[in-house]
């Protein structure tokens, strides 16, 4: 005969209480039993991105930011932030503050939570983001770190119950780390293992912290491992005048697919936009390689392909800027074009320079307007 699971009713009751305590821990901890949010960022493993650098930018730096690029790897790798900073400094006649806060995996929920922390500590003149929509309908893999039920339960209001359950579960998973954070300070893993050379062996880039947050990957999509990376920017026929800022006069150069994001993603995108507007921050949506984003859409088109008309979708004043794919790579051979990427939709260091030089004048114009 199998022995009973519990030797007494009292033991069973204690086990039930323990289960109840674990499941309710995010509610019971509330706001009072959570460490400062700074601790969250020190706890995020490096595989998610340069979160120790992001932590320093949010909580330790305090200068106003002129232009901020925020978002996941497509944007993290697309912008040569030091170049843009140099150009803006020339324009302003003072050292400009330009920063990229970028990470792995997409999702508007990430934009919202990180922007919320940043805007509570620093003033930002203009935020540039891109279409972060994730179609697999799950929260960002790092959401369990930056979503804490005690801080942000209200952010879940109105979301589908399935998504709410995932966030809540993430809160439970991270509760032991949060409680430990009350007792001692988290040490970022790059300090625990300083010999960890993930920038060279994993990201194939200089440390983002040394490049104002940008990721400059020195590999080429499809090239065999070990292929030396040669820095060069191909010259096509595209020019800065091909970059287009949306206005009633230029509306014919855009095509809006009306291929809506999942509603809960849009909900976070709206929260993100509202946050920016409440802080008096200008918002710019930068169109990134749309021809690869919509497999059913026209591939090589003279129109700038957008999923949404963002000012309507976000119910906010959002500028949109982009360049049609037919013009972007015009005059380049297939191998020159492919040499700009380290993976689908992601520019490598050469692609980053190619693209940044092209869009910088329009971004600076939007900043000054």
């Amino acid at each position: 005969m199998m022995p009973p699971a519990f030797s007494s009713t009292r033991q069973a009751a204690l086990f039930a209480l323990l289960l109840l305590g674990v499941l309710l821990s995010p509610v019971l901890a509330g706001k009072n039993f959570l460490p400062p949010r700074k601790e969250i960022y020190a706890d995020i493993p490096w595989r998610f991105g340069p979160f120790n650098h992001i932590r320093q930018e949010i909580f330790e730096e305090n200068a106003d930011i002129d232009i901020l690029f925020i978002g996941s790897s497509c944007l993290w790798s697309a912008i040569d932030t030091p170049y843009l900073q140099q150009e803006l400094s020339k324009k302003l006649g003072r050292p400009a503050v330009v920063q990229t806060l970028g990470w792995a995996w997409n999702g508007f929920d990430a934009d919202y939570f990180v922007a919320q922390d940043l805007l509570q500590h620093r003033k930002v003149g203009m935020i540039v983001f891109y279409d972060e929509t994730r179609l697999d309908d799950v929260p960002h893999p790092a959401s369990r770190y930056w979503f804490r039920f005690g801080d942000d339960a209200a952010a879940l209001r109105g979301l589908p119950w399935r998504i709410q359950a995932m966030y809540y579960f993430g809160s439970i998973l991270e509760m032991p780390a949060n409680l430990a954070g009350l007792l001692r300070t988290n040490i970022p893993d790059e300090f625990i293992a300083p010999e960890n050379d993930h920038w060279q062996t994993f990201f194939h880039s200089e440390d983002s912290a040394k490049r104002m947050g940008a990721l400059s990957v020195e590999t080429i999509h499809g090239a065999p491992p070990g292929t030396p990376f040669v820095r060069s920017i191909p010259v096509g026929t595209v020019s800065t005048s091909d970059v287009c800022i949306y206005s009633p006069e230029t509306r014919d150069r855009f095509h809006f697919a009306r291929n809506p994001a999942p509603t809960w993603q849009l909900d976070f995108a709206r929260k993100f936009a509202k946050l920016a507007q409440d802080h008096g921050t200008k918002l710019v949506e930068l169109n990134l390689m749309p021809q690869l984003q919509f497999p059913d859409g026209p591939v090589n088109t003279g129109l700038i392909q957008e999923r949404e008309f963002w000012p309507d979708a976000l119910q906010a004043d959002v500028a949109m800027v982009g360049v049609p794919s037919a013009k972007l790579y015009a005059g380049l051979t297939d191998s020159e074009r492919e040499g700009l990427f380290y993976m689908l939709r992601h520019y490598n260091a050469n692609g980053q320079q190619f693209f940044t030089r092209l869009v910088t004048p329009s971004l600076l114009k939007l900043y000054e307007d």
Binding site: L20, L23, R47, W105, V138
Partner: protein, 43 residues
Amino acid sequence: MKTRPTGEHLIYGLIVVLSLIALALLALAPADLVAMAPVYKGF
């Protein structure tokens, strides 16, 4: 036959319900959310 008191039934019922809730949350959660450090396959 000895019958269990109602309190004991309630406790065991609660354990079953809470365990099912915990399992449901685990089943719903995507693997990347549960993993300590999921590998980003892009690099």
